[in-house]
Every structure is written in structure tokens, then in C-alpha cells.
Amino acid sequence: MAHLKKILFGLIGASMLAPAANAAEEVNVYSYRQEFLVKPLFDAFTKETGIKVNVVFSDKGLIERVQAEGDNSPADLIFTVDIGKLNDAVDAGVTQPVTSPTLEENIPANFRHPDGLWYGMTTRARIIYASKDRVKPGEITSYEDLADPKWKGRLCTRSGKHVYNVALIASMIAHHGKDEAEAWLSKVKDNLARKPQGNDRAQVKAIKEGECDIAVGNHYYYGKMLHDEKQKPWADSVYLVFPNQENRGTHVNISGVSMTKSAPNKANALKLMEFLSGAGQTLYAEQNFEYPVNPTVEWLPEVKSWGEFKSDTLSLAEVAELRKEAIMMVDRVGYND
């Protein structure tokens, strides 16, 4: 018993000495983006600069964590996977403006906050996946077409409240106004082949299995599926449609970075941001088949082969603002029921 006690106290003692991240050359990241996707980037950064990158990944609650930790928060940077979370961070008052000639040169103005409260690092297109066997090329060309009754029982999407769909719906509200957008969403709902479920890949899989003929999803899942032995057949059963090429262009979202107000390693954090917007762009995009925000960086040949496209230039700040309206609209039309 006494022995056991010793071990336990030893363990508890050891747990108190948890890795405290405050040595000199490092930068601390709270990431909404999966760790295995950002890790290779951070390794490359460390290799080049000698600065260590510490990470906490969680898909929820990190902004709340920075808020609760207050002025003493160890976090320097917040990484997110869509515009909504960047906006939340700004609203929560946990970000600080960053001005850097390098960042401003590398990142086009529509992909960064006017005061430098966030910077986009990659873009991702919300596209339509169509069955090679059952959908003729040109049969669907726009988001508006998703509401066409000819797709009744043939459309699959993930939850209407997922951030990617919410951003798309918000962009529809911005372009068509609330009433028209709601009528559209309601008709889209009527076309659903099944209750929204699973992630974007699961929708493509459903096309392969014949449950539906078209699906909405982020473009990079195509690459991820092509490079997975089990999922390749799913990707092989579809082709990509970049919507609205004849008018405003395809809706794109960003993954991005914000510097926290309390950042203890400000200089290193800035270095990491600049690295990601420059030398790190190719690697960043490569990890996930995304598009670099830096226009001077070449797309991956494979990503290029899926097609170049015109993207919607609607300000992402406006999309972020309409997000709540979009979510309430999803509830109102009973999209997920």
C-alpha cells in the first residue's frame, strides 16, 4: 500500500511538471486544422529557422481557451479551416493586427483582413461532384441548378450546418437576397436523396454506390480520395464541376491564421506566418490539394489538371457576417430533418 502510494504521488508529481512551452526559440499554435495536415509544414519551418512549433489541435473550443487564459495565454497563432472561425476569433477580441510588407505582398487583399487581424493561407473551392455514368457534362453548371426539380432524389450533401455549407449558403444570401436564397435552399432540400449525413467524402461514396447522382463538396477531397487505395474507386466514379463559371464564379473559402492579442512569441509567430505565405505555400497546398493564396506560387500539376476556374470575388468578411442568418435558414427549411 505504502509502495503504491509512492508510485501514485510520483505520477501525480510528474503530471504537474507537464511540458511548459516557454523556452526561447519557439512558437505556439492552437489549430482547428488537423495536426497531421499542419505537422509537415511546421517541421519544414523548424528545419529552416530552428524555431520549434508547439501545437494543440482541437476542432472546438480553442478560441474560448485563448479567452479564458487571458493575457497569460501561451498561444501565438490560431489556425482555422474556414472564414467563420477567423471571424469568431476577431469577434472574441483575441486577435491583434499584424502588418508585414511580406504578408501584404504575398496575400491578395480579398484573402486578408483589412487591418491584418487574419490572413488566408490557402483557398478551397466548394464544387459539385457529378456521376460519370448518370450525369451528362453540362447538365449542371451552377449552385442555382441544385434547386432544379430534375435532381429530385438525386442530390447528397453533408449537414446543412457544417461550416462549408453555411459559407456557401451565406454567399447565396449575399448574391440573391434572403428570400430568394431561402426559396433556393428549400428546393435544394427537396432534392436530397437522403438525410444529410457524413462528411464530403461520404457524399462522393454515395454517388459511387448509386444512392445519388450529384453531391456538393470541397475540391481537395478529390485528391485525397485518389490517393487512398480504398477511396480511389469513389473518386473514379465522378467528375468535377466548378459552378457558376459563366457568371460570378465558384464559391471559395479559406484556411487562415490569426495572431493572438497576447502572443508571447510575436517575432517567431510573424516568421511562421511569412514562411507559410511564401516558401511554405507549395507545401501547405500540397498537404491537402488546396490552392495557394499567393498568386505567384504555381499550382500542383495534379491540382491544375482538375481544371482552372474563376472564383467568386465576394468579400469573405461579408460571408462571415451572413453566417448566422444562413444557419437559421437551415433550421427554417428543415434542411437536416
Binding site: L11, S15, G70, P74, V166, E209, E211, D337
Partner: protein, 566 residues
């Protein structure tokens, strides 16, 4: 209360006696309860400051769906876990049939499988592209989904089945411990009075075990209510969904906290109804009669039925998911077996062990303080300390962030002012904060088990020990702890296994560069890449097996009259 029952059970209607010398215990208990309740208080505080009133929107849109699916899910899970858990527990304790000794511990195994993992594995098996449907198509020559009907796993029924399969062990563990701790006397008396096996079960064993079964059921229902992973994956929209939507998508933490608190009131209501229906009956055993239970020898169809009833939950809740994981782990072994893997496993094991011991120690403190000072105040405080389990993990984690951050910053400010140096964050972002989170989350499990155990020790024992000159602490150590050893071990193992599986709070609260097996599994599984993390998922399951076996032996050994049979 029927007459037959009260005739051959021991009912002590007297209130437990207030003992002297409980003051420090009371104080410690209140302090501990305050600490554990702080995160919930933080949520209440958030609830009073909503960004806007969320209810009109909810009422006019999705509230009906949320409420009805929550009720259906809870009813379905509740009925299933009580039937399976109590039924199998009674079979293995009171009947004799081949395999009984194996089933005794194996019935606990599904507990080691996280609900989100069992959901993923069954979906992999039963979906259109899975081996089952592919096989059927090959046999019958069907081609598309439109050619035949197959039950869809991603439905309410599927969710009830998945959740019940991994949660019935709570009821099983509690009910079995209760059946085992029942003095042989009451059962023998009931037999000599001519009760049949069934009658003895329904009129004696079941009512006596009711508090324990209810503890198990309550745990299962709270876990169901706080589950997000499974219902999200199966697109079942419960109130938890509403909490998440409102908080994380609509940016209205106040509104979300309000929904979470409504859920909490719901659970407290359930517990209260159960408790008041038991009113003031208390059952203590007057004897720890030393003899093995005789057991009903089963033959023929009954024997086959008993074997099937015990084998099926194990097969579906453990063997099937573990085999799927095992197959993937084998296929993807090279991708999964990394140096990091062992490190994550070590993190998980250490955290779970420390949390289990700390949580149970805290529960003993609370439970014993209530026993020493059976006043309303401390009783209420101890109940309140148990509600953390019904709150979705991610939400509870945010409730923890707030007091932890406030405390850290207060200490830092004080230290800067008084001593001129910053202390920074002492608690936030450390493994200590994680252990605290697990304690808040799993207090219900350990407190429930401890309370059920203590409740069965007659107050005469306390009086005797105290009369013989022992203080409250010595009495606890020499009398109570040995007597409730089985319940304590049950509690430790349940918290251990639950901590191994815990995900949402770990994600939000963990230190930098810190992975547990559960967080590692999640980042792949959430992307439907189960294969790549199957080894880690299997490790979570495996880590749960050993303590489950230890637990089962300890419970058997703790039974009054147990003879170590070789």
C-alpha cells in the same frame, strides 16, 4: 412495497445516526464539491449572458425534433441497458451453466469500446460497400441499392443499438456487484419460504439491487445525453446537437449553455423521481454470511438460452468491433506502428490511472462525509458534484477553462504585485487540468458506486467501531473501505476505462504537443480514415480489457462468503 418482500428482507427505517467528529470531513467535502461544481457554475454564469434569446428560433424550428429524438434515444437506450445488464448479471450470479465464469468478466468487455469507434466499425461493416451487403449482392445477384432492402445503420435504431451495446456494462457491473453483495440469507430465506427462482429474483434480489441498477442506468443515460460523436455520425439530432449548433456555429454560448442546463435539469429530474419513489427505505445487510451462493443449475433449453443471452452482447459489443479493428490494424500496421504510438499509449495509461484513483478518492471523501453528517446541505452538494457527467464533454471543457483561467490569472496578478514575478498559467494547459476535467466528468460514476457500496454497510458497524475508540478516519480505513472494496474497484476501473476513451474535453484542454490514443484516433476517424488509426483504437480497447478482468475477479473476491476456487 409488497408484504412478502418486507417479510424476508432487512429494512432499517431509522435515519443513520449523526456521528461526532465529522466536522473536518464536512468542510473538506464542501470544499471539494465547490471545486468540482465550479465549471458548472461557470456554465450557469454563461447561460445568464446569452448573445440573444435562442428559444423563439428553436421553438419555431428544430426544438420539436431535438426533444423527440432525445426522448426516443434515451428511452431506447434505457430499456435496452436495463434488460441486458440486469438480466445477464442475474444469470451469471445466480445460475450455473457452461461458460458462466468466462461470461462473468467478458460481459464487461464492450465497456472498453468507445461509442464512436463501435459506430464507425459497424458502419464500415453494414454500409453498401461493406462486406455484408457486398456479400449479399454477390449471392443474390443484386446490383444497386434499389434492388433490395437493407436496414440503414445510420438511423435512430442504429444509434440506440450502438450506444446500448457499449453502455449496458454499467448496469451489468453495478447489478452484479449488488447481487454478489447481497447476503446469502435473504435469498435462502426466500427459497425456504417456497419462492421459485424467478420469484426470488423479482421480489427479493431485484428490489435489493435496485439502487445499484439505477446508478448504472443513470450513468448510461447521462452518457447517452452527453454523447455527440455517435449521434452526429448517425445524423440523429438530439438536444446535444442543439447545444453544439448554438455555441459553435451560431456563436451564442449563452443560448447553448441554457440548452445544456435544461438537459441537466432533465437528468436531475429523472434521478429525483427515482429517489423519491424509493422514499426513505434503506437496506443494510445484517450479516455477511460466509458461504458460497448455491446457484440454480440450468439444463436443456434454459441452459442454451442463458448461454445465448450472455454470448450475444459480448459478440456484438466486443468481438465484432474488435475484429474489424484488428483486421485494419493488421492491414495498416506499418502506417500505424510508430515510435509516437507507444508514447500516446503511455500518456493515456498514466492519465487514466491517476484520474481513476483521484476521482475515486474524492468520491470516498464525499460519500463518507455524507454518511458522517447526513444533513441536506452536504447531500445536495455531493449530488451537484455528480452532474458534470450529463454535460457534453466539449461544453464541460469550456466550463473548466473559465474558472481555471480565472484562478491562474488571479494567482499571477497576486504574485506580480506581491513578489514582482509572474507565475503564468499554473493550471491551464497542463495535465493537472486534464485530471481535474476527468474528475469533474466522471465523479458521477465513482460517487454512485461508492454511495451504493456505503449504503449497504449498516450504521451499526460505524457505531461499533466508534464505540471501540476509533476516530472517523480509522473507522473508514479499517471498516468501510475493506467492506466496500468491490464497489471501489468497480469505480476505479469504470473511471479508468472512461478516461481512456474520453475525447472532447481532452481535445480542448490538453497541453501542447500532447496526444492520447483517443485524440490520435479521432483526427483520423473523423475523416473516415478508420483504417489508419485502427491500431490505436484497438489499443484503447485492449487497455480496457486487463482492468476489466482484474475488476471482475476483485468483485467476486469481495463478495461475502466467496471462496477462492481454483
Amino acid at each position: 412495497m409488497d408484504e412478502a418482500f418486507s417479510a424476508h428482507s432487512v429494512i432499517d427505517e431509522a435515519r443513520p445516526v449523526r456521528h461526532s467528529g465529522g466536522g473536518p470531513w464536512l468542510l473538506a467535502a464542501f470544499a471539494l464539491a465547490a471545486l468540482v461544481v465550479a465549471p458548472i457554475a461557470a456554465l450557469v454564469w454563461i447561460a445568464f449572458n446569452p448573445a440573444e434569446n435562442i428559444w423563439p428560433h428553436l421553438f419555431s424550428t428544430v426544438l420539436g425534433t431535438y426533444l423527440s429524438s432525445t426522448l426516443i434515444l434515451m428511452t431506447g437506450v434505457g430499456v435496452s441497458v436495463v434488460l441486458v445488464g440486469t438480466g445477464t448479471a442475474w444469470l451469471v450470479v445466480s445460475c450455473r451453466f457452461p461458460g458462466r465464469r468466462f461470461f462473468e468478466w467478458a460481459l464487461l468487455l464492450p465497456l472498453a469500446v468507445p461509442a464512436y469507434v463501435i459506430a464507425y466499425t459497424y458502419t464500415d461493416l453494414l454500409e453498401f460497400a461493406g462486406p455484408v451487403q457486398t456479400g449479399l449482392r454477390a449471392v443474390f445477384g443484386w446490383e444497386t441499392k434499389r434492388d433490395y432492402w437493407f436496414p440503414d445503420i445510420r438511423t435512430m435504431g442504429g444509434a440506440i443499438a450502438m450506444i446500448s451495446l457499449v453502455l449496458y456494462p454499467y448496469v451489468y457491473a453495478m447489478a452484479r456487484a449488488a447481487f454478489l453483495e447481497q447476503s446469502v440469507c435473504v435469498l435462502e430465506v426466500s427459497r425456504t419460504l417456497g419462492s421459485t427462482a424467478w420469484r426470488a429474483f423479482f421480489t427479493v434480489a431485484l428490489p435489493l439491487a435496485r439502487p445499484a441498477i439505477v446508478v448504472g442506468l443513470t450513468l448510461a443515460l447521462m452518457e447517452t445525453l452527453n454523447d455527440f460523436g455517435t449521434v452526429d455520425y448517425f445524423a440523429v439530432r438530439t438536444l446535444t446537437r442543439g447545444v453544439f449548433d448554438t455555441w459553435f456555429f451560431m456563436g451564442n454560448p449563452g443560448g447553448a449553455a441554457q440548452i445544456a442546463l435544461v438537459m441537466l435539469v432533465f437528468v436531475i429530474g429523472l434521478i429525483w423521481i427515482e429517489r423519491s419513489s424509493r422514499a426513505r427505505q434503506r437496506f443494510h445487510h445484517t450479516s455477511t454470511h460466509v458461504r458460497a451462493l448455491p446457484g440454480y443449475r440450468l439444463t436443456g433449453a434454459k441452459r442454451a438460452g442463458a448461454i445465448l443471452a450472455c454470448a450475444l452482447p459480448i459478440l456484438l459489443g466486443f468481438v465484432v468491433p474488435a475484429s474489424v479493428l484488428g483486421y485494419y490494424a493488421y492491414e495498416y500496421f506499418e502506417q500505424s506502428w510508430t515510435a509516437d504510438f507507444l508514447h500516446y499509449a503511455e500518456n493515456s495509461l498514466k492519465l487514466s490511472l491517476i484520474s481513476a484513483v483521484a476521482t475515486v478518492a474524492a468520491a470516498v471523501l464525499l460519500g463518507y462525509a455524507v454518511r458522517l453528517n447526513p444533513g441536506r446541505g452536504v447531500r445536495f452538494a455531493s449530488r451537484l458534484a455528480s452532474v458534470g457527467y450529463a454535460i457534453p464533454g466539449a461544453v464541460l471543457a469550456i466550463g473548466i477553462l473559465i474558472p481555471a483561467g480565472a484562478l491562474d490569472n488571479a494567482i499571477d496578478a497576486f504574485s506580480r504585485e506581491q513578489f514582482g514575478f509572474p507565475t503564468g498559467l499554473l493550471l491551464s494547459g497542463t495535465t493537472t487540468a486534464l485530471v481535474f476535467a476527468y474528475m469533474v466528468r466522471f465523479m458521477a460514476i465513482s460517487f454512485g458506486a461508492v454511495e451504493a457500496g456505503l449504503g449497504k454497510v449498516t450504521p451499526n458497524m460505524d457505531l461499533a467501531a466508534r464505540a471501540l475508540g476509533h476516530g472517523p478516519f480509522a473507522t473508514l480505513r479499517k471498516v468501510h473501505l475493506p467492506l466496500i472494496r468491490g464497489s471501489l474497484l468497480t469505480a476505479i476501473v469504470l473511471v479508468f476505462v472512461d478516461t481512456m476513451k474520453e475525447l472532447p474535453a481532452t481535445l480542448v484542454l490538453r497541453p501542447f504537443n500532447f496526444q492520447t490514443l483517443a485524440t490520435y484516433v479521432y483526427q483520423y476517424a473523423s475523416d473516415e480514415l478508420l483504417e489508419q488509426c485502427a491500431l490505436a483504437a484497438l489499443a484503447i480497447v485492449a487497455a480496457g480489457i486487463l482492468p476489466v478482468i482484474v475488476l471482475s475477479r476483485a468483485i467476486s473476491a469481495s463478495r461475502p462468503g466467496h471462496r477462492q476456487s481454483v
